[in-house]
């Protein structure tokens, strides 16, 4: 349109954009990238020599991981006394860390399974790395219940086996449910992740330049050749694994919350725990996904695949789950008052004004309830620094939340004579930091050797993947709702 825009022109333009293309959407892959660009860009991150930043980061994280393992060894060889927990706080950082890590895993399964069933196509850019994050987080989580029992060589007591008196574990105990839930969760997550990896491993196999790479990727690609007779069963298996993982992920954190909810400790004995824990897990997990993906996206130049739209949507999930968590926190206070139970009322008074008061004000109130509310505004969801800041707040806030629930519940329960505080030792602190080392080292190895974005799945969201797609010329790139415009 040349010259000044007249009123009828504007009306016609608005009419044509809203009437002729009512379902116009911002494309999920920007700049009209084609299939081979996707293969090149994603495989390129794995092929070639490791960049210097990778070695530096990996050196640091693996040293931290080693020190964490040393702390575990020291704790196992000396005894649980090296930790700060004692009566009355018998569960402290160990179980806090367990719930923290297992919760982080949940976002990966939500993205890979629930969003798949809901046909949310934007998940394809982030599901692979989120699932990897799930596995590594569950590995970190599994360490703590394993070692906090003290005598790890008796860990087989967790298994459904009779002991030397012929007594079996109590199958009615939430602690045993937890063993089954977490081990099933890890196993199913591995199967789901590996099933998704097979076509991409075949891509790396076909691009391999050395014999050893060809052999290794070839073995793990199980001879995949993209045949539609194979895709037919593969898609059914993938759909069913998604369908199975969906109730599974909801059950895992519900079972974790039963560990607390079936006890009689004030603030623990409550029916709101399962949904509250699941929402919190997804909340914390999405924050960790953003924490890992925002730098990875910049380093590997994945901006056309993990677009501002993806970050925007993840921010919305954080806003939703964060608000659910805030509602649950409020409801806990209401029920404490409404129940008329003095222990319950005191416990919640103590949560805000007791010795751990700042954990609540900083962790639960500011980090978990207030900071995600920024995401009501589009400009904050589109600002990478704000998103990163909020996800860091949520990472911290969710750890504080678990600490408040666990230690806050235990340190002042019924009789004031039995009260006591928990103070962490250096072993507590370094074991926790060490699990971050383990988590990040595993994640760095993952992005070094495996495609961190599901190539075969991202290709499906391109318009050319549609069998009824006419020709590349007719492919309109439309920006809707004031989204970013692409050429």
């Amino acid at each position: 349109m040349d010259g000044a825009t007249t009123a009828p022109d504007v009306i016609r333009e608005e009419a044509s954009s809203s009437v002729e293309r009512p379902l116009a959407r911002v494309p999920l892959v920007l700049n009209r990238r084609n299939f081979s660009w996707i293969t090149e860009r994603i495989s390129g991150a794995v092929e070639g020599a490791a960049p210097r930043w990778w070695w530096v980061t990996f050196a640091i994280t693996s040293m931290v991981a080693m020190f964490g393992l040393f702390c575990l060894g020291y704790q196992i060889s000396t005894g649980v006394g090296v930790w700060g927990l004692n009566h009355p706080v018998g569960w402290a950082w160990d179980i806090t860390n367990f719930v923290f890590w297992i919760g982080i895993g949940h976002a990966g399964t939500l993205i890979s399974a629930i969003l798949y069933l809901l046909r949310q196509k934007w998940r394809t850019s982030i599901n692979r790395s989120a699932e990897a994050m799930t596995l590594f987080a569950v590995i970190c989580a599994a360490i703590f219940p394993g070692v906090h029992v003290g005598r790890v060589w008796m860990a087989w007591y967790l298994a459904p086996l009779p002991n030397n008196y012929g007594i079996w574990p109590n199958f009615r105990s939430p602690l045993l449910w937890d063993v089954f839930a977490v081990s099933t969760y890890f196993t199913v997550s591995v199967l789901f992740w590996y099933t998704g990896l097979i076509p991409d491993l075949a891509t790396l196999r076909d691009r391999a330049t050395t014999k050893i790479k060809k052999l290794l990727y070839g073995i793990f690609a199980v001879g995949w050749r993209g045949s539609n007779r194979n895709w037919r069963h593969y898609e059914m298996a993938y759909l069913l694994l998604a369908g199975l993982s969906t109730p599974l992920v909801l059950s895992v954190h519900s079972v974790v919350s039963f560990d607390f909810a079936t006890s009689i400790i004030p603030t623990w004995h409550t029916t709101i725990f399962p949904p509250y824990f699941v929402a919190g897990a997804i909340f914390g997990g999405f924050a960790m996904v953003l924490t890992l993906l925002i730098p990875a996206r910049a380093i590997y130049k994945f901006q056309d695949i993990i677009t501002p739209q993806h970050i925007d949507k993840m921010a919305k999930v954080i806003l939703l789950t964060g608000s659910m968590v805030a509602y649950a926190y409020t409801m806990e206070f209401f029920v404490a008052w409404y129940s008329g139970n003095q222990y319950e009322k005191f416990a919640f008074y103590n949560r805000i004004f007791g010795p751990y008061w700042w954990y609540w004000w900083v962790g639960m109130l500011f980090c978990n309830c207030l900071s995600p509310q920024l995401f009501w505004f589009r400009r904050f969801r589109r600002n990478i620094y704000v998103v990163y800041f909020v996800s860091m707040c949520v990472n911290a806030g969710m750890w504080f939340e678990r600490f408040i629930i666990i230690v806050g519940g235990l340190h002042r329960d019924f009789l004031p004579s039995a009260w006591g505080l928990f103070i962490p030792t250096w072993v507590d602190i370094w074991t926790f930091i060490g699990t971050f080392g383990i988590f990040l080292s595993l994640f760095l190895l993952f992005i070094r050797y495996l495609p961190m974005i599901a190539m075969s799945e991202v290709k499906i969201v391109l318009p050319e993947a549609n069998p009824h797609h006419a020709s590349p010329e007719e492919h309109h790139v439309v920006a809707a709702g004031g989204g970013e415009r692409t050429k």
Binding site: T187, H233, M236, A237, L241, S245, S456, E457, E464, N466
Partner: protein, 184 residues
């Protein structure tokens, strides 16, 4: 079928420029009455099963069987020890069938676990995987099937297969690089 040099022929393949053209070609090959043929693409193409004349995958039946096995395993694992081998009274709760609500979580978890294993192994076994090699990998261009290539391959053991007819069909459907693929 063998070539003059004595190599056994696996089939004849053609490359297609897009998912849409592969989809149309598949419909033509299906309508021509071929049974032993396959298309290869870097991602599953929506609607290709119907275009190839394939029905719904029966993998779901295997998964159902896996789930039932898991559920029964959990029932035996929980009731066996707790009711028969060493009845354990905890919190004064019953140990016969009335205790079943407390057994639901493990029943659920094992149902999921066994179903997932069934899905994983079924997809491998039903697809004849893992395997070390396949004749299609002898075709040099075929390495693009995991990148951006779309291929249709008609096997020589199809009763309708003749070199002439297959070549004509593939070329008419818009295929390029029509090539004979050998067994080794």
């Amino acid at each position: 079928m063998r070539t003059p040099s004595g190599n056994k022929v696996y089939g004849m393949g053609a490359e297609f420029p897009s998912a849409a053209s592969l989809y149309e070609a598949a419909k033509r090959v299906r309508d021509a009455g071929f049974k032993r043929w396959d298309v290869h693409s870097p991602f599953p193409i929506h609607g290709m099963d119907a275009a190839m004349g394939l029905g719904k995958s029966w993998l779901s039946a295997v998964v159902l069987a896996g789930g039932i096995t898991g559920l029964l395993t959990a029932v035996i694992l929980e009731f066996g020890p707790s009711t028969f081998l060493y009845p354990l009274v905890v919190h004064g709760k019953p140990f016969d069938w009335k205790t079943v609500p407390a057994f639901f979580p493990i029943m659920f978890e094992l149902t999921i676990l066994f179903s997932a294993f069934a899905a994983f192994f079924a997809v491998l076994i039903m697809n004849g995987l893992p395997r070390w090699n396949h004749p299609v990998f002898n075709w040099r261009r075929f390495s693009r099937a995991t990148n951006d290539g779309f291929f249709l391959i008609i096997e020589a053991r199809d009763p309708r297969f003749t070199e002439l007819e297959a070549r004509e069909l593939l070329e008419q459907s818009g295929g390029s690089h029509v090539t004979i693929i050998h067994e080794e």
